[in-house]
Structures are given as C-alpha cells and as structure tokens.
Symmetry: C2
Subunit: 211 residues, 2 copies
C-alpha cells in the first residue's frame, strides 16, 4: 500500500538534461501546486507564493544570469574540480516547459506566528516543505523538476517584480522528461557520492551511532 509513495521518493531526481518541453496539462499543474499548498506550515501561516513562469524572455534572462553565476563558481575551483564541474549541466531553464518560482513572505500570519517566536527561520522551513510536496507530486505525474540555485536573490526579485520583503526561495524547472536517471547527476559525474544512512543516524545523543 505504501509502495507508490516510496517508489516516488526514491525515483525522484533533480533534473537538468532530460526535459522535453512538451506541454503540462492545466489539471496536472493544478494537482501539483495543490500538493505544494497542502504542506504543513508554522502557525498555519502558509507563507509561500508560487509564480508560474512561462514567458520565454523572462526565462531567457534568468538563464543568462545563471550562466554568469556558473562562471563565478567555476572561478573558485582548482584544476580537477574545475574539470569535473565543466561536464555538469546546472539548469534546464530553457528546455523545460515552465518554471515555478517559490517565495517566502515573513509577514504572512503575523505579527504573532504561533511557533515562530523562538525560531525566526521556521517560516522559511515551511516554504521548503511545500517545495518537496511539489517535487514528489510532479514525480508521480511523470514530470521532472530541477532546482536551480545559481542565482542572486535580488536579480530574481527584480526580474519578476517581487516586492521588497518577499524572498525568492527556489527557482524550479518543471515539465515532461524523457526519463529520470537512476543515479543523481553529481554522482554520475564523479562530483560526490551519496553517504549511507547509518553515517547520519544517532541514538539519543549526538555521536551515539547504531552498532
């Protein structure tokens, strides 16, 4: 009975190169965004917004910005890492059908957001829970999602007219894909390997690892 959920969780990939650009039916997009909107949030503040970006000029301008930030990061790498990075595609902004930009409004539900007085970032956490719901729903709908994080937040705010005080949290590329890779891109390209679960498990206190 739980097979589908686990299947989706483990099949889900961060997609860069497999987008086809085919249309996403409105009802599918609605199911995916409704899943995101059903996420838990601190004090039921639901502090997220979703900008569905289809405009090719907006996506083109963002893509140019991403390429600039790619060069900025590449310049920090030494020889071997630089060579590995050169092989890695970091975004599918132009090839994917559309983008969903997810933002955080710290004022929503205020001034007294239940559960946020001691942890200022709790609202930001809520937005990320919505993003993971979106990602899993899209995977179940046989769509790919790619989270692009090579950008400066003020650039995206300016590009999309996002008001001061609202923070862009994610630029997600979305759309049909030829397939999902079995192994994450960064592992396939030798950038980094996944760790076993046991390495990050502790019993009661930090450092008490299972036998």
């Amino acid at each position: 009975m739980n097979n589908q959920l686990y299947d989706v969780i483990h099949r889900r990939r961060d997609v860069r190169g497999q987008f086809t650009g085919e249309p996403v039916p409105d009802e599918v997009l609605h199911r995916v965004l409704s899943a995101a909107h059903a996420a838990p949030s601190v004090g039921l503040s639901q502090p997220w917004d979703f900008l569905v970006v289809r405009d090719v000029r907006l996506r083109g301008a963002f893509h140019d910005h991403v390429q600039h930030e790619r060069a900025t990061f590449a310049a920090t790498l030494d020889g071997e890492a630089a060579q590995r990075f050169a092989r890695i595609k970091i975004d599918g902004v132009l090839e994917s059908t559309l983008s969903v930009v997810v933002t955080y409004d710290a004022d929503r539900g205020g001034p007294a957001v239940l559960g946020r007085h001691a942890i200022a970032d709790a609202g930001l956490y809520s937005v990320c829970l919505a993003i993971q719901n979106l990602w899993l729903a899209a995977t179940a709908e046989r769509l790919g999602v790619g989270w692009v994080s090579f950008y400066r937040e003020p650039f995206v705010q300016d590009l999309l007219g996002i008001p001061t005080g609202i923070r862009p949290v994610a630029w997600l590329c979305l759309g049909p894909v030829t397939h999902l890779e079995e192994t994450p891109d960064l592992e396939r390209h030798g950038w980094r390997r996944r760790r076993p679960l046991a390495a990050v498990l502790h019993h009661d206190r930090w450092g008490a690892h299972p036998a």
Copy 2:
C-alpha cells in the same frame, strides 16, 4: 496510480494530541528515515543528521523547556488571542513513542558546495526537504508526526550534545496515533484558516493572478 501519494499529502497532519505511545517497529522507522535520507540536497551535500531520541529523561527535559517557551509566547498575546492559544496543545513529546531531531551541518560537502555559493541558506533548505519526506513516509506508515518549534536552539544543542556549528532544525514527535484529524488543529481551534490556492498563484510576474 498517483492516488496514494496525493492521499498521503492531503491526509498528513501536524499531530499534537493523538499519539498512543505504542512501539514503532525498527523496520518501519528504517523505511521512514531512509525516505528522509533520499531527499534532494544542494551539491549532493546531504547535510542532515537524525537523532532518534527515546530516552524519557531527555524528552522530559525538552518538554519542560517547551512549556517555558509556551509561556514566553503566551505573554506576547492580547486577551482574545491568549484565550484561543490557551486551548491549543503545542506538543506531544511525552505521549509520542519517540522523537527525531534533525540537524544541519553547513560544513558537509564543503568547502565548494555546488549550488550554494550564491545562496547561503540552500543547505538549510535541503534539510527541510528531508523532513517532508520523513513526514509523508510516516503518514503512509500510519504514524503521526508533530513538529515542535517552541524551543531555543542552544538548549537542544546542549541537551543532546550537538557540536558547535551543527544546527538543530526540527524536533519531530513520531509514533502511532489514534487517528489523524481532517482539519488542522489551528483551524479547528479558530487560530487561523487555510487560504485558497488561487490567493498564492501568480502568472509570470508577481501580482498577475489567474482570472
């Protein structure tokens, strides 16, 4: 085919009062934590750790701290809000079977974490994606999860021996429940109502809402 995923996403609740304290089989906990560990992460950094806290003294000390923070928050509320808040249970730390504390290690995968040079919080975002995987997997396993956020991070670090530089992100209560409520607790108690999806949707640019 996607019904189970959507069912889980929409049935999921933030549980406070319905924990039974019954055992969680090891293989179930392993599936739930494996689901968390399968989350996407910036630069494949997997910057999370999971502390499975069963020790009753540790949970009791945390519960006392939560009560203190509850009083701190209550003191900021005016008459009507204070009355509403008084009816709301904010944690099930003692009644639930166990807790899972999720942390963030900003150094993991460094110094050059691919995708984090422009957005320092991207690693924190990854941890939250893992938390939502955990939450959905637990829901599918007919367990409840309650995210408690009435605490100060240094208290939890000290209580569980979490090293400096590792940040607690979530204290999650976990275990079998009598049932999941259909309506979120905060809505049932009149604290706040959920907004419709249409209120948070924008087309291309901020403020361009669907017709």
